[in-house]
């Protein structure tokens, strides 16, 4: 029955795309219904799973034979890990579907928007529910396609079209890693199904092989989850409509890399090098994202930097083995709620401000959009780790576990939390407090209830989920059948009084205080000041794009030009020139019109000679 979870939204997307204009009037409703129905199936599957004994909580269904000679079947695996994701995807996904009814109400292409959203939900579910890497990869590219279509939803804007293509291409660099990783896994173990890749089965492989697999999978994860060095696409992806940023580029798709690492945990647990690199990537990205978040005036890009950073935390947790998995997934779920909450909140602000995204043109909005303000504040408190809210428990769990693995990564993660306190407070002060810096024609107003009710529900999740998942190690025990239990089970506290916990809180407070002095007490200039070298560095996304352009794009363009030139002039031209020499004819045009029989006879001869030469050289006839 679990296949229904995927089939329902897929059917929705199919109907909306094939019947096209005929579904314009009710298309958005169908999209919402399909997403909700999928959520209902997920809840049923979850309840069913809870009813089973712990050792039976890996329900595999084989659907059909996919590639017989590779003994590869399409199948689904419902286990604690996949069902956690399925609930998040369909739950938060449904709220965002509902919100989009209001947000996209004026868009003539609303029906198309919902078809893509449904397609996304189906693909994302395939990604997490597949019982093998190939099925996962089909879902993986499916969400990439949905992301491409939705970033470029307003494709008539050149910036959106470029951003969509960039996201896809950068992701494909990661896909290269995932693909080659699959080659190695299949060659080494003869299977791509998760059930055949347990700790015992992979024990025979050499350390080098396991490390290679780990690093290749990590490259894939970096692409999808916008981790260094493949982070550059995420900030541009904000060209998409805001519900898309909330669903795909914050709550779900970008966390697929974390899913991949946790799902492939055996390989990382078997290779110290691979897991160390995961934590390094996580720490580097959590700092980079946070620094970028500090300098953005575009509210969505600020949140995007924050998403990078928070996924960095998850990645760090995922690199710490079974002790970190539960915290990583808990943070992932909590983040799904509070970040979706804030993105949708940002969308609500934009909705009331003529789609303005520049926070320097906001200010004092709390009185005009009280619900948006209140829910945004909840998300804000959750992300900075305000005591008893979600982030407080989940992020702290990651930091504490990291501290046990290495002080350097632990303290850097603490530092990241402090920066988070700064950039999130900055966003709050610039948007909701201070003086109005609006454009003349702005008439901010609260959004309709179809948009605010999802906000309220998401903020409730942002408050309670951390406590619920972490207390009594609830999520850790639940996930254990899928990912195992750590050797030392941590003891969660309602309020941790360790040095680490207290210093984290202190640094967050310092960050918030600096933000208050610079953006709360002082006036926010309506025009971006020039800023220091460091500010420019952060504004330019740490020169990630500049680096990519000079390392890959420009050399690539040169290579392309040279190759095209060579193809036109080199192979064909060599022949043309020789023909001219031999035949003594002159004039390019005349040669083309009268001499081409001779020319091409020669061209073939030379080509054939090259081929024969190659054959002779190695095969020695």
């Amino acid at each position: 029955m679990s296949w229904l979870m995927i089939a329902l939204p897929l059917l929705g997307a199919f109907i909306l795309l094939v019947f096209n204009r005929f579904t314009n009037r009710w298309g958005h409703l169908l999209g919402v219904v399909m997403s909700l129905a999928s959520f209902a199936v997920a809840v049923l599957a979850f309840v069913e799973l809870l009813g089973l004994g712990e050792d039976q909580r890996r329900q595999a269904v084989t659907l059909y034979e996919f590639i017989p000679s590779m003994k590869l079947n399409m199948g689904l695996l419902v286990d604690p890990l996949s069902i956690s994701f399925a609930l998040l995807i369909t739950g938060v996904g449904s709220l965002i579907h509902i919100y989009s009814i209001g947000y996209m109400s004026h868009d003539p292409d609303r029906r198309r928007f919902f078809s893509y959203l449904n397609l996304f939900v189906a693909a994302m579910l395939l990604l997490v529910l597949s019982d093998n890497y190939v099925g996962l990869f089909i879902g993986w590219e499916g969400v990439g396609l949905a992301s491409y279509l939705l970033i470029g939803f307003w494709q008539f804007k050149p910036s959106a079209a470029v951003a969509a293509k960039k996201a896809f291409v950068v992701n494909r660099v990661g896909d290269f890693g995932l693909l080659v990783g699959m080659f190695v896994i299949w060659t080494s173990f003869g299977s791509l199904a998760f059930k055949d890749l347990g700790a015992e089965q992979i024990g025979t492989a050499s350390n080098g092989t396991l490390t290679a697999i780990g690093l290749l999978l990590l490259l894939g994860a970096c692409g999808k989850s916008a981790q260094l060095p493949l982070q550059s696409w995420l900030l541009d992806a904000m060209e998409g409509p805001t519900p898309v940023s909330a669903l795909i580029h914050a709550a779900t798709m970008v966390t697929a890399g974390v899913y991949l690492v946790v799902r492939s945990g055996v390989f990382f647990e078997a290779s110290d090098v691979a897991s160390l690199v995961v934590t390094i990537v996580g720490v580097a990205t959590l700092l980079a994202g946070a620094i970028i978040g500090c300098a953005k005036d575009d509210i969505k890009k600020g949140l995007a930097g924050s998403t990078m950073s928070q996924i960095g935390y998850m990645m760090l947790g995922a690199g710490l083995g079974p002790a970190g998995y539960a915290f990583a997934i808990a943070h992932l779920i909590a983040h799904g709620f509070f970040k979706a909450d804030m993105f949708l909140g940002a969308g609500s602000v934009m909705h009331g401000m003529n789609d303005e995204v520049d926070m320097r043109k906001y200010g004092g909005l709390r009185k005009y959009m009280p619900v948006t303000f209140a829910t945004f504040i909840v998300g804000y408190l959750a992300i900075i780790g305000f005591p008893f809210l979600s982030g407080f428990y989940t992020k702290d769990g990651i930091i504490e576990t990291a501290m046990e693995h290495g002080a350097w990564m632990g303290w850097l993660a603490v530092l990241g939390a402090g920066i988070t306190g700064f950039y999130m407070s900055r966003m709050i002060f610039m948007t909701f407090f201070g003086e109005k810096r609006w454009d003349k024609d702005a008439h901010p107003h609260e959004s309709p209830s179809v948009m605010t009710v999802p906000l309220i529900l998401l903020s409730i999740g942002s408050i309670v989920l951390g406590y619920f998942l972490i207390m009594d190690n609830r999520l850790m025990h639940f996930l254990a059948p899928a990912v195992g239990m750590p050797e030392h089970v941590p003891v969660p506290h309602l309020f941790s009084t360790t040095t680490v916990g207290l210093s984290t809180l202190a640094l967050v407070a310092v960050g918030a205080a600096i933000a208050w002095m610079k953006y709360g007490r002082a006036q926010v200039p309506a025009v971006q000041p020039r800023g220091s070298f460091l500010t420019t560095f952060a504004r330019r996304d740490l020169y990630g794009d500049a680096l990519n352009e000079s390392l890959f794009m420009r050399p690539g363009q040169w290579l392309t030009r040279i190759a095209v030139y060579f193809d036109n002039r080199g192979i064909d031209g060599l022949v043309n020139g020789l023909a001219a020499g031999i035949g003594g004819s002159s004039g390019r045009l005349r040669r083309l019109q009268t001499g081409f029989a001779r020319t091409y006879a020669l061209s073939i001869l030379i080509g054939a000679a090259l081929l024969t030469g190659a054959l002779l050289l190695v095969g020695n006839i």
Binding site: L145, V169, F183, L605
Partner: protein, 521 residues
């Protein structure tokens, strides 16, 4: 016991071609309708035959029929199919009616960017008559079990295609047609020499393929004969560096002819490598594997890079095909079950995917009269349906998982990577390098999409009309096949698998992939 299925499949389109050719002047519409009807009959017959096909052991070639043709030289009209030939015949039978429907107005002249029309040299009914003749030959070339008969079809196919490009193509059609013809004739000449050489050296007094398998033992002889066949097939496929005829031919041909040229005719090259080069000359094939894999990898990467730099849509698609043919050749010569199945499947899937892409691009070009990417922009807003089909075809071109081309590309790469046939190192590297094309493919397809479909709508594009019903009927079946086989490749693989197994056992490679990897289950 001779089966009449294959001879009937060839006779029906020939009769159809004669009828169409004999229609009185001015009955263009009738000519098109008759052609469509005949091609649909062939498709129906092919499907009925295909459903009766079983890969069960017994005779390797099913529906076999052999008639004496030139008894004094042992030349037979011998036909029969294994799974690989069957799926390629089915591919041809599916594509022809689609191409007929797509070419409804193509034979009346090609519109140029300035609004003028390049008039065709011959009549409309001749075009459709040629199309049916070509269909008979495409079926024949894949069905031939007599090597001389194969050679005859191999060469004769050039003639209808030559006229379809040279008489109905764009402004530079005669240049492109002659280039195409000369390249192919040269390859054919080498093959003729090798065919005769094979006949003489084998000394069996027959050209029947099954009787010639394993006969040539001397390694040096094998190598020379192999080279003769291989170069002919490499030109046909085409493989780098003998590829330069394809972009010209594909760009100048009417869209429908380009589909058959790249979708089917070129497959004769890769099919020939798989069937004849490998099985007749196994030792030579193994000796030459490495240089051929290198050429294949160069084709994959080079084709993709040059495709990125193209400014003409049809040339761009042609170069992507050079990259894809590289994958097929790599799969054929990786000598593993999975890679070779992937290669055979790739031939079919590439026909659908590139067919859809050529036709969608053709519909776009027909509205503007220019193949230049720079002349478009923002078509999505004006022609959402055309844009949607164009995008899906493009995604099939970049082998998006979930679409059929992914399955075959994945099988080729993973089968090559894991092939233990030649000391794993070199093939492993080849597979990894070829996987870089996954990134390049996203660039060449999506950049084209961005420049043609996205962005602000260009002035001339504003007047475009979206697809009409005929055009939807052209693209919808292809897209359905692309998605269907993307998720359920099994029906095709089930017939391909036993054929590949026989091929590999004739090359004395005992299913390394299955034998070694399957044990791990």
């Amino acid at each position: 016991m001779s089966s009449l299925w294959l001879p009937i499949l060839m006779v029906v389109p020939v009769l159809g071609a004669i009828v169409v050719a004999l229609l009185p002047k001015g009955s263009d519409k009738l000519a098109k309708q008759v052609t469509l009807l005949v091609s649909l009959v062939v498709l129906a017959l092919t499907l009925v035959m295909a459903f009766q096909f079983t890969g069960a052991p017994g005779d390797r070639f099913k529906f076999a029929a052999t008639y004496d043709w030139i008894p004094s030289f042992g030349v037979h009209f011998g036909v029969g199919v294994d799974g690989i030939a069957l799926v390629l015949i089915a591919l041809s039978a599916v594509l022809v009616p689609i191409v007929v429907l797509a070419s409804w107005h193509d034979a009346s002249g090609v519109k140029a960017a300035d609004g003028t029309v390049v008039a065709p040299k011959r009549s409309v009914k001749t075009y459709f008559s040629l199309l049916l003749v070509l269909e008979a030959m495409m079926i024949g070339v894949f069905a031939a079990t007599d090597i001389f008969l194969f050679y005859v079809f191999f060469e004769a196919m050039l003639i209808p295609m030559y006229f379809m490009i040279g008489s109905y193509g764009g402004a530079q059609r005669s240049y492109a047609a002659v280039k195409f013809l000369l390249y192919s004739l040269f390859g054919g000449l080498l093959m003729l020499v090798a065919v005769i050489g094979l006949y003489v050296v084998a000394g069996k007094g027959t050209f029947m393929f099954p009787e010639l398998v394993g006969v040539i033992q001397d390694p040096a002889t094998q190598k020379w004969l192999f080279a003769g066949f291989f170069i002919a097939f490499a030109i046909k496929a085409p493989l780098w560096p003998v590829h330069t005829w394809l972009p010209d031919a594909a760009a100048q041909a009417p869209a429908g002819a380009a589909v058959l040229l790249v979708g089917v005719l070129d497959k004769v090259g890769t099919y020939g490598m798989l069937r004849f080069c490998l099985e007749l000359f196994p030792d030579a094939a193994k000796a030459f594997t490495m240089p051929i894999i290198v050429l294949a990898v160069i084709s994959i990467i080079y084709g993709a890079i040059v495709a990125i730099g193209q400014t003409d849509m049809k040339r761009l698609i042609a170069y992507t095909s050079i990259s894809h043919f590289g994958f097929i050749v790599m799969g054929v010569f990786a000598m593993s079950q999975v890679a070779q199945e992937g290669a055979a499947l790739y031939m079919v899937n590439h026909g659908f995917a590139t067919g859809a892409l050529f036709l969608a691009a053709g519909f776009l070009i027909a509205r503007r009269g220019s193949p230049h990417i720079a002349d478009y922009g923002g078509a999505q807003k004006v022609t959402p349906l055309l844009a949607g089909f164009f995008l899906i075809a493009g995604l099939a071109g970049l082998s998006l998982p979930g679409l059929s081309s992914f399955v075959s590309e994945f099988m080729v790469m993973i089968g090559t990577y894991s092939s233990p046939a030649f000391g794993s190192g070199a093939l492993t590297v080849a597979a990894i390098v070829s996987a870089v094309a996954v990134i390049l493919a996203a660039v060449y397809i999506l950049w084209m999409v961005q420049r043609t479909l996205n962005g602000p709508t260009a002035e001339p594009v504003k007047a475009f009309k979206d697809l009409n019903a005929r055009e939807v009927w052209v693209l919808a079946p292809l897209v359905a096949l692309i998605i269907g086989f993307g998720f359920f490749p099994k029906p095709l693989l089930d017939v391909i698998t036993p054929a590949v197994t026989s091929t590999l056992s004739n090359v004395q490679v005992d299913n390394p992939a299955i034998a070694e990897k399957g044990a791990g289950q």
